[in-house]
């Protein structure tokens, strides 16, 4: 086996198909978008080369505020990293301690990840529904009628409501990643710590978390990138409304590309999102570089 894997011919043979797929389905489309982003083109008209004009328009006088979208997505990224991942971590640590019904909880928390986002969106539309929605119903059931809202219709509450669902949906996903990482820590280490009289909190702080750092890094990266390119849930819940209060870069891009046929500007947005994601990934890699723990 080693002989095969060290043979350059075989390496090429094994890597080439995947490389070909990667280039044709990812690299070429990105490069093509890069090319389109320098054009003034509506899909049918003559392609007019305008250089970086589209990128300037991204943040200059763009009427529906691409800046609002970017701000919102960054806010979501912060929420994901500082609320979603920590909650997932706590759940993972608690569940992995082998409490009764471990499997049950693991499955329950993971359910939102399995369900299609469109279904999740419909579900929460019903929760937030102002007339018969569960949320308003609960509020009036406990006598808080004055807190009843038309949640997704008001510019003040819509963003928070949408982001709540975004954050909630993927807690289970991160939990499962972290859970499996925790489960792979050798039992002997934990037992040794316990014999030495470490409390649960101490074990978590000084043993579990340092040892699963690589997985936390993966989770943070996923949470960040997922937030920057989130689309489906927001589209189902509010379509970026009311009055653009829940707009994110992708919803604006969708509209500019598909309703306004502005392929140049839309592609510039796509390229912006790609670069943004790459940059932040690099930052996170740097941020976590510090020390590496091994068993």
């Amino acid at each position: 086996m080693d002989r095969i894997l060290s043979n350059k011919k075989y390496i090429f043979l094994f890597v080439f198909p995947a490389f070909l797929l990667f280039v044709t389905t990812i690299m070429i489309p990105i490069a093509y978008s890069g090319y389109l982003s320098t054009l003034d083109w509506n899909g049918y008209s003559e392609k007019v080369f305008i250089g970086f004009e589209n990128y300037k328009n991204l943040f200059a006088d763009f009427p529906e505020g691409f800046t609002i979208g970017v701000k919102n997505s960054l806010l979501l990224a912060l929420l994901s990293i500082f609320i979603q991942v920590p909650i997932a971590l706590i759940l993972a640590i608690v569940i992995s301690k082998g409490l009764k019904g471990e499997k049950f909880f693991r499955t329950v928390y993971f359910i939102p990840v399995i369900i299609s986002t469109t279904v999740i969106g419909q579900l929460w539309l019903k929760v937030y529904q102002p007339k018969y929605g569960v949320l308003n119903y609960l509020l009036s059931a406990i006598g808080l009628d004055n807190l009843k809202q038309s949640w997704l219709a008001s510019t003040e509450t819509a963003l928070a409501c949408v982001f709540f669902v975004c954050v909630w949906q993927y807690i289970g996903y991160h939990m499962l990643l972290l859970y499996s990482a925790i489960k792979s820590i050798p039992k002997t280490i934990l037992e040794a710590a316990r014999v030495d009289g470490a409390s649960n909190l101490q074990i978590a702080r000084h043993i579990t978390i340092p040892l699963i750092k690589p997985m936390i890094k993966v989770c943070v990266t996923f949470a960040l990138i997922g937030s920057l390119k989130t689309f489906d849930l927001i589209y189902v819940l509010t379509k970026g409304g009311p009055v653009h209060s829940t707009e994110v870069p992708t919803t604006i891009m969708y509209r500019v590309l598909l309703s306004e046929n502005n392929y140049g500007l839309g592609s510039a947005m796509a390229i912006f999102i790609v670069i943004e994601c790459l940059l932040f990934t690099v930052f996170i890699q740097r941020g976590f570089k510090a020390e590496a723990h091994t068993y």
Partner: protein
């Protein structure tokens, strides 16, 4: 044994490569061909480049968006198609139907890739304009003799006129009307509004009873836009509205500001649900069909659903009236609507004459069929015989035939980014985030 293993691995690697290559090749142009059910027919059509003789076999690819079998337009199209096929056995029609939103993307993509089908459905005015500008649509009158169009109400075909030439044929038109649940009005002891003041009274009475007076799904912005469009017709009239839409007049004038103010007044008077910005068209419609809301301003297409007992609790309880008249306005008998849906022939079609005749045949037959179904107002002079028409549809047809003028919904008249700007400005009105003045200035920015 080792040698055998190595051999197996080599074989496996080769096989993997083969599968991947196959996958890539399979995703290529070949797949596109099998996607259209017409691959064989297309080939057949392409072999003869000359105009076909009477009995020559011709095949046409036709794209439309009537995917739901019992949808009014789908039924009338299929009936028209059956008749056509019975009379033209030499023409093979290959249908490709795609759902509305997906269709918009699909047809745009096909046209930009120069792969438009022979005949396709499109909206007129702003939607088809880029297709015509790109030279992808055939001038249909070049391929039809005058007799073929003698029944067409030319004035209604204006949305398919570009630079004075006719490019497509509509089948029926729509008109915006105010649907009023008569039973609820009677219970509340209010008159069905004929004037704007009466509308305001009705709104007040219904609000007093805890009933949302008018249902609208402003999350789908076009729905909210109807109110701004009809209000502008009342204050500015169809002529000025059309001029402004054609960028020949300014929106930034009192008439349009008054129209926007009307919408703001309605919002202020709680005419709509405070959560309407979170409701879709379907949710809003259900409030009318369930008898929760007494009023909805919508297109004539809704009549068929109101009268469909399977989905409606208000069959025969709803009347259709003109949007309330504004005191002192000269434009009280003008309507929002028009003929915006039709069929066109692609410029690259091999048999344009056959295709054009097909379009004329189908649209004329559809005009009649959809009238009988109650899903559209015919734009062809038809002979409906003594077939009975639903009373609600009849009311709408009477309103439409008595009208002084039309403006088609603004989002179909405008094109590209102008549409989204307009829609988002209307939503701003509904959210009370902009004043009437800011609204007209925002609209005027499109014309500068």
């Amino acid at each position: 044994m080792g040698g055998f293993n190595k051999c197996k691995k080599k074989f496996a690697a080769l096989f993997l490569c083969f599968v991947v290559v196959l996958g890539i090749v399979g995703c290529g142009p070949k797949k596109a061909q099998t996607d259209t059910p017409s691959a064989a027919g297309e080939k057949e059509g392409k072999t003869n480049n000359t105009q076909p003789a009477k009995e020559e076999k011709v095949s046409l690819d036709v794209w439309h968006l009537w995917t739901i079998e019992n949808d009014g337009n789908a039924v009338s199209f299929n009936r028209a198609l059956e008749q056509y096929q019975a009379e033209h056995p030499n023409v093979t029609i290959n249908i490709d139907a795609t759902e509305n939103e997906a269709y918009k993307t699909k047809i745009k993509t096909a046209i930009s890739a120069n792969e438009a089908p022979d005949v396709f459905f499109t909206w007129g005015a702003g939607f088809a304009k880029p297709f015509v500008d790109a030279g992808q649509v055939a001038k249909i009158t070049d391929y039809l003799d005058e007799a073929a169009l003698k029944n067409l109400q030319m004035a209604s075909a204006n949305n398919f006129m570009y630079d004075g030439a006719l490019y497509g044929l509509p089948y029926s038109s729509w008109v915006g009307v105010l649907y009023c649940n008569e039973e609820m009005f009677n219970e509340a002891g209010v008159k069905i509004p004929e004037t704007y003041d009466e509308l305001m009274t009705a709104i007040e009475v219904f609000n007093g009873k805890g009933i949302v007076p008018i249902t609208v799904g402003a999350k789908d912005a076009w729905n909210a836009m109807f109110f701004q469009n009809i209000a502008s017709i009342r204050t500015a009239g169809t002529e000025l509205s059309t001029q402004a839409l054609m960028k020949e007049a300014s929106y930034d004038q009192q008439a349009f500001a008054d129209g926007a103010q009307m919408v703001l007044d309605l919002v202020e008077a709680d005419a709509f649900d405070p959560s309407c910005l979170a409701f879709s068209y379907d949710e809003a419609k259900i409030a009318l069909l369930n008898g929760e809301c007494p009023m909805m301003y919508q297109g004539s297409w809704l009549a068929a659903e109101i009268q469909n007992e399977e989905i409606s609790l208000v069959k025969d309880k709803v009347v259709a009236v003109n949007f309330p008249a504004l005191e002192g306005s000269a434009y009280n008998n003008q309507f929002l609507g028009g003929a915006i849906e039709g069929l066109v022939v692609s410029e690259k079609c091999e048999h344009k004459k056959v295709a054009a005749e097909f379009v004329a045949y189908i649209t004329e037959a559809m005009a009649k069929e959809s009238f009988l179904q109650g899903s559209g107002i015919p734009v062809w002079d038809i002979d409906a015989g003594d077939a009975s028409v639903d009373p609600l549809v009849q009311q709408i047809v009477d309103l439409a035939y008595g009208s002084d003028g039309y403006v088609v919904a603004w989002d179909t008249f405008l094109s590209g980014a102008d549409v989204t700007t307009h829609l988002s400005l209307v939503q701003d009105l509904f959210a009370q985030a902009k004043t009437a003045d800011e609204f007209v200035k925002g609209m005027q920015a499109l014309n500068e």
